[in-house]
Amino acid sequence: MKPDSKFEFLVAAFVHDLKNQLQSLSGQQDLLVSELPEEYLQKLTPMLRQTNQIKEDTLRLVSVFRLENKDSFAMDDAWPRDTASDAIASCLIQFPELSIDNRINLDAQGFYNEQLVQLALVTLITNSAQAGAKHVELLCEEGENQSLSIIVHDDGPGFDQDILDGLMDTTKAEGTGLGLSFVEMICQAHQGAGKQGSLNISNSKAGAIASLFLP
């Protein structure tokens, strides 16, 4: 964000306020979940789902705004297992039937913007669920100089050949259909040791594979 832009200051102020409201809502929901008897929790589910969706959309909106603006994102030590765990928690609210396995090593460590990468993972898992996958696995490979590849592997139908060939962004009817582009923008916002982050997609025998390379 440029400090001399009133518009951007205003946007930042609104976003700040929105995040505080969401934080408060999220806290109250956590409290309700912990205090209410099991039979009432089901009635809360649609509300929890929608709140979570608003939260994710807000974060996505802010991130797209900043990515488009070529803003710098703060990078720091981060632990992919935690990042994946947060993404999984969010996705399970939206897709409770989905089985998600976090197979990332507890000690794996990277250097990235945690909020962005979490959004990327949520986007990829959401794609998998919407494509019909029943099971998703998250894995991580550590490279040189703390570089990482975080992999999302599902048991769905796999990517269409047109998407693999880069001819189309999506074949989905619902959503923006721009999830992969968003994830790619997030990867590219990460740079280190002379390399740029990237998104690689492929199909395995058992489904789709999306791999986020974070240098």
Binding site: P3, H16, N20, D30, S72, F111, N145
Partner: protein, 545 residues
């Protein structure tokens, strides 16, 4: 990995957030995670109060805390006053937009941050990671708490060697320690090696500081400016740009850099003080005045509260008092007086500051055209100066200037005579010469005129002795005009005519006539002069007879 429940159980925790829902939510979450001993503060002032009262192991503070201090300032003040040990944790809770500022802090950096919105699970994971890292650096931080900096450096190097995963936090502490110990070459190496692989904002700032300290100001400036292109909110870069520009004797550019920093982050007392100082030196009171005003307001409840801020605020404000009849000017003057009053109350033991405040008060009254009040403050300052055991030369110069401004020329002259006998710096000598010139110029003419008026008033009431005293005082000064000299002669002659001729008085009259010299016949004062001269000659003859 630590066991979070055990790690939190025995610790004293402070949660700071201005939003009621946010702090109660965080408190509940922390309680669920195992914390038992939690205090709550609703703003920066309350937080600092609690930090001064209690020893906290963990502080969880929101960054944006409304009108007073922000989370970063609480951290700075807590560490600056040694109220928060290096082994204690300070975690900033913030939205993404403030992360640049939180993460960029080179000297007072938080141990970690949690971005909003977070869930219980995210909070748990972040706390586990942050506390684990802190535990792994415990030996380093213990050495810092004991102020054994060389030992801390040694332990930091060991951590870097044994635990490559701690490279970022360990390099950060190591860089700071090396800068603290003025080991700029090794510090530069630490930052540069890290930057070869990781683009970390604080390492760029550290690198620029080292380069500057090693003598290459231009490269340091270029690096800081490049960093700002990528991180435009990184205010500490502006602070250092200003520092470097000052050493390059570019005070106007330095001021400009600090103004940019203030636009982004206006709540830092030290930054406002620095802007005020530079703008004051630059003669830009319109910038200095609000900067010092902010510094006074922000400093009121901080460890940076200083009498100097109050003085400088009033000094810069009084220069702006251009039109005493205008409401805006009157308001500004009232603010200045209030600040001086607060200074007098809060720093009542600091006699030097009391003296300076009273001098500024006098000048402010003068600018508001309240001569009597100005004179009263000047006399109060004189009393305070007399009580100082060993007053600075500058104070005597300030006192002299104030005496001149309040038409107390005799006192000013005495002070100038005293100062002329003392050892002064070149700058002080320059000021003394200016004051001497002022006193013997305009101010003295004003003074002699006032004494003359006094003498005339006595004369008209027939109080000849009193008139002579006033005229004698007026004619002591070289600047006394011909009319004053003639008045003095007339009063003396009138006295001798009433009583009898007196040799001493006649002698005085002669001296005055000699001072007048010859007056041209077409001069308006010639008739009066000729008449007095004739009477004088007659009295001389009478005296000789």
């Amino acid at each position: 990995m630590i066991n979070l429940e055990k790690a939190l159980a025995g610790r004293r925790i402070l949660i700071v957030d201005d939003l009621v829902e946010a702090r109660s939510s965080l408190k509940k979450m922390a309680t669920i995670l195992g914390a038992g001993n939690i205090d709550i503060a609703t703003d920066g002032i309350e937080a600092m109060h609690l930090i001064h009262e209690n020893d906290y192991d963990i502080v969880l503070s929101d960054y944006n805390l409304g009108r007073t201090k922000d989370g970063q300032q609480i951290l700075e003040e807590a560490r600056f006053t040694d109220r928060l040990r290096a082994t204690s944790l300070f975690i900033v809770v913030t939205g993404e937009n403030a992360i640049d500022m939180v993460m960029g802090a080179l000297e007072y950096d938080p141990d970690g941050y949690i971005t909003k919105p977070y869930t219980l699970n995210i909070l748990k994971e972040r706390l586990i990671r942050i506390i684990t890292v802190k535990e792994e650096l415990r030996l380093v931080n213990e050495a810092i708490d004991l102020q054994k900096y060389d030992l801390a450096i040694k332990r930091c190097l060991e951590v870097l060697h044994n635990s490559p995963r701690l490279r970022l936090p360990a390099s950060r502490i190591l860089g700071q320690l090396l800068l603290h110990q003025k080991q700029f070459e090794p510090a530069l190496k630490v930052y540069s090696q890290l930057l070869d692989e990781r683009s970390v904002s604080w390492a760029k700032l550290g690198q620029a500081i080292c380069i500057f300290k090693l003598g290459d100001s231009d490269s340091a400036l270029a690096l800081l400016r490049r960093t700002l292109v990528i991180h435009p909110l990184y205010v500490q870069c502006y602070d250092w740009i200003a520092k470097i520009l000052l050493t390059l004797e570019k005070p106007l550019e330095a001021q400009e850099a600090l103004e940019k920093a203030i636009a982004i982050s206006p709540k830092a007392v030290l930054r406002q003080m620095e802007l005020g100082r530079i703008a004051f030196e630059n003669g830009d009171m319109a910038t200095a005045e609000p900067a010092f005003k902010y510094a006074v307001r922000l400093g009121r409840y901080s460890c940076h509260k200083s009498a100097k801020n109050y003085l400088q605020f009033a000094r810069s404000a009084q220069v702006l008092l251009n039109n005493p009849k205008e409401r805006q000017t009157q308001n500004k003057a009232s603010e200045a007086f209030r600040a001086l009053e607060e200074l007098k109350q809060d720093f009542s033991e600091d006699h030097d500051s009391l003296f300076e405040a009273t001098i500024v008060e006098s000048k402010t009254h003068l600018n508001m055209e309240s001569k009597e009040d100005a004179k009263r403050s000047a006399n109060e300052a004189e009393e305070l100066l007399g009580k100082l055991e060993c007053p600075k030369m500058d104070y005597k110069l300030q006192m002299t200037e104030t005496f001149i401004e309040t038409d107390q020329s005799v006192k000013a002259q005495l002070m100038i005579d005293e100062l002329k006998e003392l050892e002064l710096s070149d700058k002080q000598k320059e000021m003394l010469n200016r004051l001497d010139h002022d006193l013997n110029g305009e101010a003295l003419i004003r003074h002699t005129t006032s004494l003359n008026d006094e003498g005339v008033a006595h004369y008209e009431r027939g109080e000849l002795e009193e008139a002579i005293i006033a005229f004698d005082q007026a004619t002591r000064y070289e600047q006394a005009g011909i009319s004053v000299l003639l008045n003095s002669i007339q009063a003396k002659i009138s006295l001798m005519e009433r009583d009898s001729p007196d040799k001493k008085i006649l002698k005085d009259c002669r001296s005055l006539l000699i001072r007048i010299g010859t007056i041209a016949k077409d001069d308006d004062r010639f008739t009066r002069y000729a008449r007095l001269r004739k009477t004088f000659d007659r009295l001389c003859r009478a005296s000789a007879a």
